[in-house]
């Protein structure tokens, strides 16, 4: 086994453990911490996939900002009161997970992955390359993204701001 696949399997194992902890830990705050770990591991995985920019974004946006929101929701909802039996939902969730596995396993098992992965060049995934494609091929999505963010701002204020 070469170094690259060793690192991959190491990261993958840790990621699976962290994800399992998110599901199985009883304390919601601990679950959130396990989730941060999982997100950070994904960030490291992006580096091994030659996408350092995505790694930075993953840390900034997911492990940073979105986790802050998660913690706010947890504190907002007062988790102590939420401990309860998990019977029905667990059955339902397991069923969904099995369905997803049923779709994904055959996909992976056939293993006819593309011969030339998109990440072939050294510079792929660097901020420069990202900027180059973002501001040439994907200008329109970029501009629409600003509209999307504006709608999100208005929506956040409309739904969460206290009426005077």
């Amino acid at each position: 086994m070469d170094t690259a696949s060793f690192i991959f399997y190491l990261l993958a194992t840790l990621l699976v453990i962290a994800s399992l902890l998110v599901v199985f830990l009883r304390n919601v705050v601990h679950c959130a911490m396990a989730l941060v770990t999982a997100l950070l591991l994904i960030a490291v995985m992006f580096v091994t996939l030659h996408a350092p920019m995505l790694c930075v974004l993953q840390v900034m946006v997911y492990a940073g900002a979105i986790m802050v929101l998660f913690l706010f929701v947890i504190m907002f909802l007062n988790p102590g009161a939420l401990e309860q039996q998990r019977g029905l939902w667990w059955g339902f969730g397991t069923l969904l997970a099995m369905m997803l596995a049923g779709v994904l396993v055959p996909l992976v098992a056939t293993s006819d992955l593309p011969a030339d992965p998109v990440a072939a060049t050294e510079l792929f995934g660097s901020p420069e390359m990202l900027a180059k494609s973002l501001f040439s091929d994907y200008v329109l999505p970029f501009e629409i993204a600003s509209v999307l963010l504006l709608v999100a701002i208005i929506g956040a204020v409309v739904l969460a701001k206290r009426e005077n």
Binding site: V56, V73, F76, E128, A131, F135, F142, V157
Partner: protein, 118 residues
Amino acid sequence: MNHPFLPLLVMFAVASVIVVALLTVASLFGPKSTNAAKNDPFESGNPPTGDARIRFSVRFYLVAMLFLIFDLEVVFLYPWAIYFRHLGVFGLIQMGIFLVILTVGYVYVWKKGALEWD
């Protein structure tokens, strides 16, 4: 061994070694005594009152959400700033439109008083 991420790996390794070493040293040589007062949460010297898990005001949530949205805006600025010289005037116009649209959002948030804690 010229991988661009090698310094990063070294940094992580050194950091982990220092943390583990300090914890080990502290637990080996530190004085140990436990009593009830020591296990109390330390609230500026006052005796603790009430539950630590209180409900947070929904206003925090609005602030956090607005932070997240403007954080995402910054994410777009970062690659643009790096590549700015190659993009020229066209790049300036692109980012200008992007920022003008989001500035409308900023003005909106400001005028609606969503940034105020009333």
